[in-house]
Structures are given as C-alpha cells and as structure tokens.
Symmetry: C2
Subunit: 157 residues, 2 copies
C-alpha cells in the first residue's frame, strides 16, 4: 500500500526539515511513501480565510487520485492510540487498498470541498500543533505503526 | 512563575536538539524557564524495567524542590486543548505559584515514588510519542499557551 502525505505549506524551519527527512528515510524501509508539499499561496494579504481555504483545497484535490482513500488530519477527527493506528494501517492493507493519502491542511483548516472528498478524519491530539510540527508528529506515528506491525522494539506499551 | 522541565535522557538527534533550542529561546521572552536533562542510566542491560524506573525516579525527585508543583506528562493524564492549557498556566500564575515542574519520563514511564510526589498528570495525546519528540511537542505547546495569553497571532482557533 502506498502512503501519500499531502502537506500544505513548505516545511521551512531547518529542524523540522531534518526531522521529516529522518522519518521519511526510516519509513522507506516499510512502505512506498510520497510526501507532497503544497507551497504557500502568494498574495494572500487581501484574501479572507474562506478564499485561502478554497484555493488551498483546489491544490489539495489536484494531488489526489480518483480511487485514493483520503484521511484528513483534523482537530475534530478520531483519536487513535498508537496501537489502534497500527491496526488501522493493517486493516487498510488487508483490504488491498492501493493508496491512502493523509492530508495536513493550512493554518485555517480545510475547505468544504476537501471535507466532502475525505473518507475519514483523524486527530493527533486535542492540542493544536503548528502545521510544521503536525507533519513530523504524523510521520513519527506512521513509523511507529510499521514498527509495531513488524514486531520491532521501538514501541513500548 | 518559573517553569522547570525535567526530561529523562539526553536529546540526541540533532533536529530535536535544534527544535528544543528554538522553543526555549522563544519561551524566554515570556517566562523563566529551566530545562534539566537527566542523562540515561548506565549499565542498564542487567536491570529490569522496575529497577530502571526506580533509579530514574530518584534522579527526577532530586531535581524537584519541596514547594514545587509537579505535573507528569503521562499517557493516562488529563488531555487539554491548547486554550485549556493556556488557562491552566494562567490559573497557576494567578495562584501566585512560584514554580511548576513538568516531567517527561524515560522509555518505561515513572516509578511509584514519582507518581506519589506528583500533583497532576497531563497527556499530550492518546498516541505514544518518542520521548525525544514529547519534549519538543510540550515546549511548542507551552509557547503556544503564552502566545495565547499575550494575544499574539500564533494560535488560530
């Protein structure tokens, strides 16, 4: 199963760039992973939040294939434990799903169109994380999921 | 109010070291913050998990002052939203608390003695994070809390 991560706005702080590379590299031992960063919109000063979300949404949707399962990382999504999340990955694999896209939105969240296309929503925490940090937390969790599925000693219950 | 962060094991990955520095520097604009890293125990190969937790616990307790409030970052702790956490910080400030210590444990969690000394437990997520990552996620959240209390535009609800 291919894992696609669609991330709004470029990772700009060097420590986050390095942390992402670190987990991407580890994940490549377990799955086919593609990380797509959608650059920040330009000239947003005169745009309201809704317009920004709509335009970002169009870019997100353009990266999603018709048969792909889409999971939004969203404050109001389902919270998993790490074990539950590893089971979630396994279940999708077992259903012979070819590709699953996890999407991290921009600072203002997702447009209605993106919500409509989404199959599921998951939340990493009740806390709000910076959108730079969310992506790293998510990749670490994905790595943890695969390490659990492969009985490796990374995760302690 | 002084914020003390007691962290078991050294931060070793360079991206996490840099991320911690980044938030520590930002936090110094808002509060007096002290980050104490407790180095990994040596020769743990022949120790069971309970012994490791007890020994780590003794080191943790040695860093805590008698009147300090102690909050453990613990899987089974209370989950806050970022807004609730900023209110929590404010409430403690308003009670003229001089110092609050947040403690991130080692890979196996806390000893009974540390649980006994703790005033509260908080959880960052239902997910398990690496203990390297927890500290960065926590510092970002602390920075977010102060930025909310100071009406700065970092946080979007």
């Amino acid at each position: 199963m291919k894992i696609k991560c669609i991330l709004c706005s470029k990772t700009n702080e060097n420590h986050w760039v390095e942390a992402m590379k670190f987990y991407e590299k580890k994940l490549k031992n377990y799955c086919s992973i593609e990380v797509i960063e959608i650059p920040d919109l330009k000239n947003t000063k005169n745009m309201d939040q809704k317009t920004i979300k709509t335009k970002e949404g169009e870019l997100i949707l353009s990266k999603i294939a018709p048969n792909e399962k889409v999971v939004l990382l969203d404050d109001k999504g389902k919270e998993f434990t790490s074990l539950q999340f590893s089971n979630y990955i396994l279940q999708n694999q077992n259903q012979s799903l070819k590709s699953i896209a996890f999407v991290v939105g921009g600072a203002y969240g997702f447009s209605d169109e993106v919500y409509k296309r989404a199959n599921e929503k998951m939340s990493l925490s009740k806390l709000t994380f910076s959108h730079q940090m969310v992506r790293v937390v998510f990749l670490e969790q994905l790595y943890r999921a695969y390490s659990i599925l492969n009985n490796e000693p990374y995760h302690h219950e």
